[in-house]
Amino acid sequence: MGQNTTTTPIDLSVDLAGVHLINPVMTASGTSGFGPEYAAFLDISSLGAFVTKAVTPEERRGNPQPRTVETAAGMLNAIGLANVGLERFCREKVGYLSGLGIPIVVNVAGRNADDYANVCRRLDEIECLSILELNVSCPNVSDGLDYGTDAGRLEALVAHVRPFVRRAKLMVKLSPNVTDITATARAAVNGGAEILSLINTLQGMAINVETRKPMLANRVGGLSGPAIKPVAVCMTDKVYRAVARDAGVPIVAMGGIQNWRDAVEFMLAGATAVAVGTMLFVDPTVPIQIREGLTDYCHRHGLSAVRNIVGQVDR
């Protein structure tokens, strides 16, 4: 431990649109299942918040395998939103999550605006689910285009879902596969998002040079892990300065976070909280290490509260 840790307790808590987190470290959707999977390695109740895998109205088997492949300092995945579906989620998963005693974020996905609205309406009735996160990196069945890549359709989607989320807070997860992420960030806020999360995976592809076949059965997938971190930091910085700061909308940032220093980097760029995704696969205790490291960073920099660094990168 650091030498001067005994002097003053550091306040690690942060606030996401009124949802209190004991520290700013969360899990990222799709990388920690529905909770129990990491129980042997990680005390989830010591995290700031837990984020589930995407929940869709119907049960989904997902894509054929191979679904993941390692790439330089990262990985591609094309899971295909495999999940148990809304009803089984409510029946089989909520019980465990409600016992964790920390804010629970449910990642919501669908094929059309009504899918999103129906899932949100049902989940909004469940008290322990604090935040609903719209995963808009999903194709709309009518034209196959992602909701998250067009500002106009994103704003319309968020506005459509907005009335069905009355108790929980509404978070929108931005796709990085856009020309200008501040445009989709602004659209999400205009549609009624109370929190923004970013970034989802970057579209990518890898090819087996011996067989000339794509490495993933789905041909393309989403790139995550340390390889994408500078992209994610840059987008966090842009969204914070152009949209989130003035709108008073907090950011949950993610993309390749592997240690406390990465977490601080995102917070300096404007994130109120951070999420660990891919690196959980390598070491599920990374969030705990980050929490410890944040405390020490605050001591070394004479900070009484970690929230004081949010957006404090030199301009």
């Binding site: 650091g2 390695f41 088997r61 990985m75 220093r261 390598v282 410890e292």
Partner: protein, 323 residues
């Protein structure tokens, strides 16, 4: 060393995340190494289970101003069947893994020296069911499907079964076994002999095949299996087959068993990321009468790697593309 109770398929130990120290890492045949490492006790593990390995990174000490950097290759862990496990006093154990150097992680493993550390997550997955009530237990292994069978052989002896190992390799120099030159090896596949030291010490004789005919039975191991079965006169209902290796080989062994009503368990391999059931990478398509279209995906890492062969759908990528 006390023989462990392998009579059920329930591992009696929760997985852990620990650092281990390399105590040996030797080339055993072309491209194949055996690595032995010492780590916290995992003697509750069972044959069929695997360990998930990655380079050890200096733990992120809170006052470490650099922060743990996990990015050097390989990034993700890789799964390796436990090929052997012995208790080492006190509260420690030695684990054997046999690997073939084919890519990023295995090249890193081949570079490890005695005294180096590595990060171990495990034991993970389920294990081979032993309480099948069958007198005869045959292990059918191809290529890097051999490692879990070495530990299974020990478990079978503990469970008092009559074990035989059928081991196939592409060529003699890719056979990851210590062959005893003084013991004859059947070339028509009809006789098993104590020719491989790793199995002989558990009183398990072997039938060996090479695709190019450089050693033992010439051809695929499935051919040797059929020849042996035809000659041995072992009743199908008193026999259980365990298999691990390339998917086509396992599918062939499964077909052989299904045609004769022989109980068969397969140890599957899939691209994995988490190894703990969170990422949904490692799906195996299985017949499931209650599911839509009669099939569903199960996870190789937590519902496997060992599956009842009759449940597995062997089409390779499993069924049609959904949604």
């Amino acid at each position: 060393m006390p023989v462990m109770n392998h009579s059920n398929c329930e591992p009696s130990i929760h997985p852990r995340l620990i650092d281990a120290t390399v105590i040996a890492n030797t080339l055993i045949c072309r491209e194949h190494f055996r690595i032995t490492f010492e780590c916290a006790d995992m003697t509750g593990a069972r044959a069929g289970q695997f360990v998930h390995l990655a380079p050890a990174r200096s733990a992120s000490h809170p006052s470490d101003t650099i922060g743990t950097n996990w990015s050097p290759v390989p990034l993700l862990r890789r799964a390796f069947s436990i090929a052997g496990l012995v208790a080492a006093a006190p509260d420690r154990c030695h684990i054997d893994v046999i690997y073939r150097v084919v890519g990023t992680a295995t090249r890193w493993m081949a570079s490890l020296r005695v005294g180096d550390s590595l990060s171990v997550m495990g034991p993970l997955g389920n294990c081979f069911p032993l309480s099948t009530g069958k007198r005869h237990a045959w292990m059918v292994a191809g290529g890097v499907g051999l490692p879990p069978m070495l530990w299974l052989a020990e478990a079978l002896r503990g469970a008092d079964r009559d074990g035989i190992a059928f081991v196939g390799a592409r060529s003699r120099d890719l056979l990851a076994l210590t062959v005893d030159r003084n013991v004859p090896v059947s070339i028509d596949g009809t006789r098993a002999s104590p020719a491989a030291r790793e199995f002989a010490r558990h009183e398990v004789p072997v039938v060996i095949s090479t695709d190019d005919g450089t050693f033992g039975f010439a051809g695929r191991i499935g051919g040797a299996l059929r020849a042996y079965f035809a000659a041995a006169g072992v009743p199908a209902d008193d026999l259980v087959v365990y298999t691990c290796g390339p998917e086509a080989m396992m599918a062939d062994a499964a077909r052989f068993c299904a045609e004769r009503g022989i109980e068969c368990h397969v140890c599957m391999e899939r691209a994995m990321a988490c190894g703990t059931g969170t990422c949904q990478s490692c799906v195996v398509a299985v017949h499931e009468p209650s599911a839509v279209d009669g099939w569903r995906y199960e996870l190789c890492c937590t519902q496997g790697p060992v599956f009842d062969a009759g449940r597995v759908i062997w089409s390779g990528v499993g069924g049609a593309v959904q949604h």
